[in-house]
């Protein structure tokens, strides 16, 4: 499994995974991501819905049992999802390290 070359996650998905380290519902995720990115990333509802559906299928997040069909269904990251986020963070660190070496710039 770890020998598989895993490709990059989109930044939207990465931020969704980060957000779901705590239980959160759809609109909450959108606001949280906007906050985390300082307004740079604004997740559109259709994109979010598609991402959540795929993440659920993959088992990277789960839907929390609440009142059935209630508004504001909440989601939470799974162990598998946490692993994927860690792998992505490692990839991002590699990019930043190389970028800083070659392009330089403010320390992070």
């Amino acid at each position: 499994m770890s020998s598989e070359r895993e490709s990059a996650l989109t930044e939207a998905v990465f931020y969704i995974l980060l957000s779901l380290h705590r239980p959160m519902h759809g609109y909450g995720i959108m606001q949280n991501v906007e906050g985390l990115s300082g307004g740079r990333v604004s997740l559109a509802a259709g994109t979010l819905y598609g991402a959540l559906t795929t993440l659920l299928e993959r088992g990277w997040i789960l839907a929390l049992p609440g009142e059935r069909d209630s508004r504001k269904k909440e989601y939470l990251i799974t162990e598998e999802g946490k692993r994927a986020a860690r792998v992505e963070l490692k990839r991002l660190r590699e990019l930043v390290a190389n970028g800083s070496d070659i392009i330089g710039g403010e320390g992070l």
Partner: protein, 196 residues
């Protein structure tokens, strides 16, 4: 105060239709109901709502669509009308600019749902073209046969050739209608080579 407009947009002109709805909203006319080519607007605060049109994978009544629309409602989106699989959505601009898709892949997927309509129609029309062409030739050979024997026969083969041509024309028209969307997909795919 209600204001009714009659306009015809093809499935390939969704972007233009959206643009028109948003222009009306910027002028203070909010779309509140749609039925095919009949648009109903109501007076409101200019720029109060942003509008988007989406083609669902299934009819709005389907459970999957219902789940999606309910999710959208959680984010402040309202549905002002439907037409087959098309849904007309709006959201108060107080929530921020209204976009349904923020990444290129989702946008491409949505446009492809639209070109699928054209492609399915085209394939159907091509099938009819071939069917009627076969019948036309069959009729023509029969016509020639009678002619050579000295009998005159009504040239029924002509109407089959004409029908065949008409179906081919419709197939081509479907592709032409879808052109703006195909161009949009092409543009997005190019963008995709460098960005997400």
């Amino acid at each position: 105060m209600k204001h009714v407009a009659w306009k015809f947009y093809t499935f390939g002109q969704v972007d233009k239709e959206e643009q028109w709805l948003n222009e009306m909203a910027a002028r203070g006319l909010m779309l509140t109901d749609v039925f095919a080519v009949r648009y109903t607007f109501e007076q409101g605060t200019p720029g109060e709502y942003g509008y988007r049109i989406e083609l669902l994978d299934n009819l709005p009544s389907h459970p999957e669509s219902a789940r999606y629309l309910r999710f959208l409602e959680e984010t402040g989106v309202e549905c002002v009308g439907t037409f087959a699989r098309w849904v007309y959505l709006r959201r108060k601009t107080a929530y921020g600019p209204f976009e349904l898709y923020s990444d290129i892949d989702s946008k491409i997927r949505h446009y492809k749902r639209i070109t699928l309509i054209a492609n399915v129609m085209t394939i159907m029309m091509l099938c009819f073209t071939v069917m009627f062409l076969c019948e036309a030739f069959s009729q023509y050979t029969g016509y020639l046969d009678w002619y050579r024997r000295g009998f005159s026969c009504k040239p029924y083969h002509i109407r089959y050739f004409m029908s065949s041509g008409t179906f081919l024309l419709i197939a081509a028209i479907m592709q032409v209608i879808a052109l703006p969307v195909k161009k949009a997909i092409h543009g997005l795919k190019k963008e995709r080579t460098i960005r997400e």
